[in-house]
């Protein structure tokens, strides 16, 4: 037991910081119904602000904390609520997910562009001296962290139970419309809760900064620790979130002791929160997790603009024709870029199958891409030729996709997004470094096919990729016009309606996830075989999030959106080679996703407007006819 005590103490200390962030997310989620994926990123922004104020501008620690946590934190909350969310009030869950992801990508991309990837170290905030208790060396800073979290938790409790503002907040959680009927503006209450929630996120970010150092990635992971803890409290319980955070902190630190002997499991402690998150979502009783998003009737109507129902023959031919003539105008060094872009068309197309057709947001698409590449590499090592290896490597991912789809069957869209978000980070931390994927080397080489012609020639290989991508895109477009496509469109509209027709939605939801994962894995193999190698850094979890924001920007409903997404992501940096353009690309995509979140089909909407009003009119215009028909049927 004595061996474990030190780990328990450090675990409680870090768990306390997670608890602050987790309680923050519970406050905002329950009050506004909006789950903020950028919650950890808010903490990151506060940590950078703290770094700037204290380390760069020499402000005293207390003043830096005051400004970074208690001024900047509420200010961020105010902006999120008043600028980002008020505008789209009553929107669908998918819209809110897009906006908060857009914010995450915007802030994280911005931090990366301004500060670069290097981790900034920060001097400790609290005393580093220690004392002995029960034969364990305990730092005063650890005790301070625990005390701060405990005080924060009690303060929140007192706020909700003892103050009028707290009562009003609970009233809004209960019934916002009734709150307004009783003379309290739910909008003000919601704003207050965002300010409160973001202050807690900022506090957690600043407290973690000396422990982890400040960088754009590490602190964003704070989000996932917080999500894991909040999930334990079903996203609605403050004590649940608090205890969940402590348990996660202790569990993660205890597991550090075990993995010392198992180097391949070195990612386990960091992955522990996601395992908790995933397990809770997977094994909790159905109905334990309910979405709190308050969707207005208008938004529901607008969301009914469904994914394209036609086989996109003309866009496909246009894509093929453009892709066929493109090499004629392309210099040799550029061939590699357009080949990669082509493979990305398939990545985005497979993603649009989920986002556009079945309205499921997957935040771990990069995992499929990576495994497609590493599976291909490992099979090639085993002597399997390119094409079979590509196929088998992608087929291996089908059961993984099916497993991932489990939360999709049991839970609604928001929780699928959270689960996939967790899985994306889990895979990166735990699986990428094992022999299942990259292994210890961190780099896998992939060779191109060598049948009939020598495909080491970039132009020749381009046509191989083109053929495979077109075949893959055809599969996606075919699904749109098949029964599966119709069921998915109907499911996106009304799952209950589909079930009442006797169709079991499970199979369709799992199948579409499998197809999407399979195609992404194929695309991953193609992307890797262009330069001939792949590294874990190329496709970290941030890419998954970035792709979702891009596709939301360009439009997930049609093939055009997927093509445009690939062009914007891969070809724009080829044409505009300035480093500024490349660095600020994510920032722009994040911003675009926020701005266009409510356009039914992103940028594509601007060219061809699927007008919800017109849709409403046309249904109404049809109504009398069908009614006449019905009356005739009754009379006849």
């Amino acid at each position: 037991m004595r061996d474990y005590l030190p780990f328990i103490v450090t675990g409680l200390a870090t768990g306390s910081v997670y608890a602050l962030a987790a309680m923050g997310i519970v406050v905002t989620y329950t009050t506004s119904g909006v789950f903020n994926f950028a919650h950890g990123t808010v903490g990151m922004v506060a940590a950078y602000a703290f770094y700037e104020l204290r380390e760069q501008h020499g402000l005293p620690t207390w003043l830096s904390i005051l400004l970074a946590v208690f001024v900047l934190g509420p200010a961020i909350g105010l902006v999120i609520d008043r600028v980002l969310l008020r505008r789209i009030q009553g929107a669908t869950t998918a819209t809110y997910i897009t906006v908060s992801l857009g914010l995450l990508v915007f802030l994280q991309g911005g931090a990366l562009a301004i500060y670069g990837p290097a981790t900034r170290t920060i001097d400790p905030i609290f005393s580093q001296s220690t004392f002995r208790f029960l034969d364990v060396t305990i730092g005063y800073d650890e005790v301070t962290l625990m005390a701060i979290a405990a005080v924060g938790g009690l303060a929140l409790f007192a706020f909700f139970r003892r103050t009028h503002a707290g009562l009003q907040t609970r009233a809004v959680v209960d019934d916002p419309e009734l709150t307004s009927l009783m003379g309290t503006s739910p909008g003000r209450v919601t704003t207050l809760s965002w300010m409160l929630g973001c202050t807690f996120a900022s506090l957690a970010g600043v407290l973690l900064a000396p422990l982890l150092g400040v960088d754009s990635v590490g602190l964003t992971l704070l989000a996932i620790q917080a999500f894991g803890a909040a999930t334990v409290g079903r996203l609605v319980s403050l004590p649940g979130a608090y205890l969940g955070a402590l348990a996660i902190g202790v569990g993660a630190d205890l597991s550090k002791k075990f993995v010392v002997d198992h180097p391949t499991l070195s990612g386990f402690p960091t992955s522990f929160p996601f395992l908790v998150l995933f397990a809770v979502l997977l094994f909790s009783k159905p109905g334990r997790f309910a979405e709190l998003t308050k969707v207005s009737q208008q938004a529901r109507q607008r969301a009914k603009v469904v994914a394209s129902t036609r086989f996109a023959a003309r866009p496909l031919v246009a894509l093929a024709a453009a892709a066929l003539v493109l090499p004629a105008f392309t210099s040799d060094p550029r061939m590699l870029d357009i080949t990669v872009a082509l493979a990305f068309v398939l990545i985005f197309s497979s993603l649009s199958l989920l986002m556009g057709l079945s309205r499921q947001v997957s935040l771990c698409h990069a995992v499929f891409v990576v495994f497609g590449a590493t599976n291909l590499s490992r099979l090639q090592d085993a002597g399997v030729p390119f094409l079979p290896a590509l196929l088998i490597g992608a087929l291996i991912m089908v059961p993984v996709a099916a497993l991932l789809a489990l939360p999709a069957i049991r839970l609604s869209g928001l929780f699928l997004a959270i689960a996939t978000f967790g899985f994306g980070v889990l895979a990166q931390n735990l699986l990428f470094l094992t022999d299942l994927s990259f292994g210890n080397e961190g780099l896998r080489s992939v060779s191109r096919p060598d049948f009939i012609v020598d495909f080491s020639d970039d132009r020749a290989f381009y046509y191989v990729v083109l053929a495979i991508v077109l075949a893959g895109v055809c599969v996606v477009e075919l699904i749109r016009v098949t029964r599966l496509g119709r069921i998915l469109r109907a499911l996106a509209d009304s799952p209950t309606g589909v079930q009442s027709l006797g169709v079991v939605p499970t199979a369709a939801r799992v199948l579409v996830f499998c197809v999407s994962g399979f195609l992404a894995a194929i695309a991953g193999g193609l992307v890797a075989s262009v330069p001939g190698s792949v590294t874990p850094a190329t496709f970290d979890y941030f890419q998954s999030l970035l792709w979702v924001t891009i596709l939301a920007t360009t439009g997930a409903l049609t093939l055009g959106g997927a093509v445009l997404a690939a062009v914007l992501l891969r070809l724009v940096p080829v044409v505009f080679t300035s480093p500024t353009v490349i660095e600020y690309q994510p920032v722009l995509f994040g911003l675009a996703a926020i701005v266009l979140s409510q356009a039914p089909n992103g940028i594509a909407t601007m060219f061809k407007v699927p007008d919800a009003e017109a849709l409403g009119r046309s249904t109404r215009a049809k109504l009398p006819r069908s009614r006449r028909h019905a009356e005739r049927a009754v009379v006849g």
Partner: protein
């Protein structure tokens, strides 16, 4: 004399669908008005639009001569409009006392509580209980009591008797006539048509989003009006 509530050419609905197609309605100060109509006629939509939880597409709503058409629901509530929504107008997860405290801060809560116990003795022993665990009748009483504690000028009552035992309905309707006796103006939607006719001064009949009949309760006695618009006589 200005009317307590004056609705003029009101159009409202949900998204692209319009439910109310130009409704004119007046509730004179201190009067009780019944709003009748078949299912889907737009009664609830009208009350919600007056209370402000559904935006008006066009037309105007005036409270004692003040145009409130573009004010948010919470401002209208503070100005004296009180909607008792269909179902129960209570916060299910808050205690009875907390429900009362929503509008009455500090010492007023005690005063409000006493007033309510005087009117509905059954609620007296339930102050610390979570409102969602009350019986249907008690919930409706709480909803009414809560409304009365704020001294509203205009009460919009939406189907108060739904799902309640007949004995409780008596209590509830008695409370409504009590409100009227206190000089409040009332617009009431009610399924028990014959009973509500005894309570009110005027009757409006809403049909497919339009007012098709305005009159006094006696004019409805022969039932012809209802035959035409409500199907069977209520």
């Amino acid at each position: 004399m200005t009317a307590a509530l004056m609705v003029d050419g009101l159009r409202a609905g949900y998204g692209a669908t319009t439910v109310l197609h130009g409704v004119d309605l007046v509730v004179p100060a201190g009067a009780a008005v019944a709003l009748l109509g078949a299912n889907g006629a737009g009664k609830t939509t009208l009350l919600k639009t007056i209370a402000g939880t559904i935006p008006a597409q066009s037309g105007s709503i005036a409270l004692f001569g003040d145009d409130i058409t573009h004010r948010p629901a919470d401002a209208r509530a503070r100005a004296g409009v009180c909607l008792l929504p269909e179902g129960r107008g209570i916060f299910r997860n808050l205690t009875v006392r907390e429900n009362l405290a929503m509008q009455n801060r500090g010492r007023d809560v005690e005063a409000a509580a006493e007033q309510i116990v005087a009117r509905f003795p059954r609620l007296g022993s339930r102050m610390q209980q979570t409102a969602g665990t009350l019986s249907g009748g008690e919930q409706q009483m709480l909803s009414l009591a809560r409304a009365l504690s704020t001294d509203p000028a205009v009460v919009l009552a939406d189907e108060l008797s739904v799902g309640l035992a007949p004995v409780v309905v008596d209590d509830i309707l008695a409370a409504v006539s009590g409100m009227r006796a206190e000089g409040r103006s009332i617009l009431i939607v009610e399924q028990y048509v014959s009973r509500v006719l005894d309570l009110v001064d005027y009757v409006y009949l809403l049909h497919k989003g339009r007012i098709v009949f305005v009159g006094e309760p006696q004019q409805c006695d022969d039932g012809k009006v209802f035959d035409q618009y409500l199907g069977a006589t209520a």
